[in-house]
């Protein structure tokens, strides 16, 4: 199917996602605010039950709390705020997904609050598409790509952009 191949090539050409030579990407899928998101499995360090959180007064809304993760102070991010989703209740399925991401050049541990962690999956570049220019309720540069997987449309968020936006307003 030439169209899928074109899509795959376009997806792979975009440098922010490292699809492998066969156009595949190993990801962890999880639910937030009713949507399913995915992140590269390689950046996931651990999946934790909810921990007691400490508020950091004056911190940006997206990363308002920190937790004690094995003796390290790890910020916890609420991606719902990045995607203008409504805050929800925590349930027995809620988890914190600890990822490692370079922030300001240093590898940084960040906890992401999730409603439900699903599974490790293989996404296909051919099944992905760019976020539409209009008509999407999320900020476009926060989304790397949308990927069809089983019956869902999964969001591949651009964490670098989301967190850069958090860091820059401060002087």
């Amino acid at each position: 199917m030439p169209q899928a191949k074109q899509r795959a090539e376009a997806a792979m050409a975009a440098t922010d996602t490292s699809w492998n030579a066969r156009g595949e990407l190993e990801v962890l899928t999880f639910d937030i605010g009713g949507e399913t998101l995915a992140l590269e499995a390689t950046m996931v360090r651990e999946i934790l039950d909810l921990l007691p959180e400490t508020l950091v007064p004056g911190a940006p809304a997206l990363v308002r709390h920190v937790v004690n993760f094995r003796g390290r102070i790890v910020p916890v991010a609420d991606l719902r705020l990045a995607f203008a989703m409504e805050a929800g209740e925590t349930t027995a399925d809620s988890r914190i997904v600890v990822i490692e991401l370079p922030i300001d050049g240093e590898p940084t541990l960040i906890g992401l609050r999730t409603d439900h962690v699903r599974e490790v999956a293989t996404l296909n570049a051919g099944a992905s598409e760019e976020a539409p220019a209009v008509g999407m309720r999320w900020q476009r540069d926060y989304v790397r790509r949308l990927v069809r997987w089983r019956d869902d449309l999964i969001i591949l968020p651009d964490l670098t952009a989301i967190f850069a936006a958090v860091l820059s307003p401060r002087s």
């Binding site: 400490t54 911190a59 920190v66 922030i103």
Partner: protein, 655 residues
């Protein structure tokens, strides 16, 4: 746990290279000093010997040439000249690169050429020097043959040859002498051998790594190439390197003057830095567990338990103090590196610069030392580039021709003070003002106190210099320096007299990792206030609280002290505790009262740093983990004090 001999060699080589460098720098000032010549020669000799022992063949070969050249000076055949010293200094840098395994061959050849020329010049011409054959052929000649079944078992000789080609310039020739006749040839079997000539910095290690999977079954012969032979075949019997290295150290030390104060006959144990860090982490965790134990014990009326808990508190405190001391390192190592910097800066700027140091034995936490390096380099560069005048200008100004940079360190209270003084032209106020106005930091004609004016140089993007030097790939500027110093919870101050010079003072607290803290509660959260900043604690009665609604000042022994309601600052949305407390904290001359709901008590605080997201949030300098596993943020007293100040001034002005 087995020690890695190569790693040990690297550490010792590093020390030898430092000693050789210091010796050369001293020799540069005293060219006739034979004791220094001998010391440098011995250092080079040892490096060559142990280098060969541990397989650093390229290092050994290169060092051999330098050692030969220096031997001639030692024997008196050739006098030491400034040029010779300068070349050997470059050679030393190349040797350091060889130890690290990242040294371009061409650079080494160029240095050896300069060395030959320098020796020639020192001799005053005549017969060509035998030292340092230029463009020495470095490399190996090897032959290998694989077992017959190697290919059937998945070994591909072509891959091996490709790997060899990556090591250097290669010439490959096949040997077919053991090929059976065609009728008897089994196609899967390997009956070929290969001669490979490799040119370049080829180590035995690298070759053996290529053949690692077939090493046990194959034939492999390696011989060094050309007359770089001495490297590969330095007789091991030469002098056991261990004792030689030890011997060089104490003997060289008295000869190498003005280097670190070496106390004779002190027994030392070498500990890898990461083991010390691991130990430090354990001590930190012990402190947390001990504070938790103390909390529990205090809630019980078990006298025996309390007594043991007190013992543990005391022991853990002593252990903590001992750890602090273990991590302390004299600043001499830092100052030593600057001698080379000044030497190079003097050469680059064409100015005569002298470096004086004092207080080298002052000790600082080892992590602080490392982080001070870049800021200090920047400050010294500034002094040399912009502060110090050219020799002509200095003479015209009635100063001595040689500019002076003085580095000193001493401990005062819980801090280390490091000052950098230069006797140059001082900071040009007009230029600073002009730059400040151009950057919109001040209005033209705005009245501004002198120390505030000088403080402008710490603003990002502010640089009165046209050039921007790039240190270690990171951005520079006094703003970066300031931020680095502040990240060490220190402070930086600039004083300058036009025409006379400038003084930069750094104050760094002695301990980084663990501090005594005061644990307080504001609303439902707990925070830690560094106890060293706390002056006193007072009650804030409900009436006083209501009375001071409009203004946040409290009279404290006839002085007006501004205070900050942390409940408001942190927007807790909770109601004030009926018995609020004011914790009066101070930095320098200024103080502020912090209103909290409850003072919980003292807490030994192991400081954990915050992520990039929270580092800049104004009021917090870090976080800690409490006995119950929860996180408490540590208040940044300096920021809070600064935040409170303007209000005090405007209020005073208004009243």
């Amino acid at each position: 746990m087995t020690e890695d001999p190569t790693a040990t060699f690297r550490v010792e080589a590093g020390e030898l290279l430092d000693q050789v460098e210091q010796g050369l720098l001293d020799l540069g000032h005293r060219l006739g000093d034979m004791a220094l010549v001998n010391a440098v020669f011995r250092g080079l000799h040892t490096l060559k010997g142990s280098g060969a022992m541990f397989g650093f063949d390229a290092l050994a070969a290169f060092t051999h040439h330098c050692e030969s050249a220096f031997d001639r000076v030692r024997k008196g055949e050739v006098p030491a000249t400034a040029e010779l010293v300068s070349v050997i200094l470059s050679a030393r840098d190349h040797m350091a690169a060889l130890v690290d395994g990242a040294a371009p061959q061409a650079e080494g050849d160029a240095i050896l050429a300069r060395l030959a020329a320098a020796v020639e010049a020192a001799r005053g011409g005549g017969a060509p020097a035998e030292a340092a054959p230029v463009g020495a052929q470095q490399g190996v000649r090897l032959f290998f043959r694989l077992p017959a079944d190697a290919m059937a078992n998945g070994t591909n000789p072509l891959m091996l040859l490709d790997e060899l080609r990556e090591l250097g310039e290669a010439e490959v020739r096949v040997r077919t002498d053991t090929l059976p006749p065609l009728g008897a040839l089994v196609p899967n079997e390997c009956h070929l051998g290969w001669d490979v000539t490799l040119r370049g910095d080829i180590t035995r290690e690298a070759i053996e790594d290529v053949f690692i999977f077939v090493m046990d079954d194959m034939t492999l012969e390696i011989a060094p190439l050309g007359d770089a032979a001495p490297a590969g075949v330095v007789p091991v019997a030469e002098t056991p390197p261990a004792t030689t290295i030890a011997a060089v150290a104490p003997v060289a030390a008295p000869a190498i003057v003005a280097s670190a104060a070496v106390s004779p006959a002190v027994e030392n144990v070498r500990v890898p830095a990461d083991r010390l860090d691991a130990l430090m982490d354990r001590v930190g965790e012990l402190v947390i567990a001990q504070s938790r134990l103390s909390q529990l014990a205090n809630n019980r009326h078990d006298l025996l338990l309390r007594s043991v808990t007190e013992d543990i508190e005391r022991l853990s405190g002593e252990l903590r103090d001992t750890m602090m001391v273990l991590r302390m390192v004299p600043v001499s190592s830092l100052f030593g590196r600057f001698r080379r910097l000044i030497h190079d800066l003097a050469r680059d700027t064409g100015k005569a610069i002298e470096l004086q140091t004092s207080g080298e034995t002052t000790e600082v936490d080892k992590t602080v030392i490392e982080r001070l390096f870049d800021p200090l380099v920047h400050i010294i560069r500034n002094s040399c580039d912009h502060g110090l005048e050219s020799p002509a200008d200095r003479i015209a100004a009635g100063k001595s021709e040689t500019g002076l940079v003085r580095l000193s360190a001493h401990q005062a209270g819980g801090e280390v003070l490091i000052t950098i003084v230069d006797d140059g032209r001082g900071i040009d106020r007009e230029r600073v003002r002009a730059k400040g106005e151009a950057n919109g930091l001040i209005e033209p004609g705005q009245q501004i106190a002198d120390d505030e004016l000088l403080g402008l140089i710490f603003h990002p993007g502010f640089s009165t210099a046209a050039q921007v030097t790039n240190l270690s790939g990171r951005g520079v500027g006094m703003d970066v320096v300031k931020r680095t110093i502040e990240s060490l919870r220190g402070a930086i101050n600039v004083a300058s007299e036009p025409g006379k010079g400038s003084t930069i003072t750094l104050r760094i607290p002695l301990t980084l990792a663990i501090i005594e803290g005061l644990l307080v509660r504001v609303g439902e959260s707990r925070y830690v206030i560094p106890l060293s900043a706390v002056e006193e604690c007072l009650e804030l009665s409900l009436e006083d609280d209501l009375r001071s609604r409009g203004h946040s000042l409290i009279t404290l022994r006839d002085r007006l002290v501004p205070f900050v309601r942390l409940r408001d600052l942190f927007s807790t949305g909770t109601r004030p505790d009926p018995h609020q407390k004011i914790v009066v904290v101070a930095t320098g001359r200024e103080r502020v009262g912090l209103v909290v709901d409850q003072i919980i008590g003292n807490h030994q605080t192991v400081i954990k740093s915050l992520s990039a997201f929270h580092r800049g949030v104004g009021s917090f300098s870090g976080a800690t983990i409490l006995g119950d596993g929860n996180v408490a943020l540590i208040l940044d007293v300096a920021q809070l004090v600064a935040m409170a100040q303007p209000r005090e001034e405007t209020l005073r002005a208004a009243s």
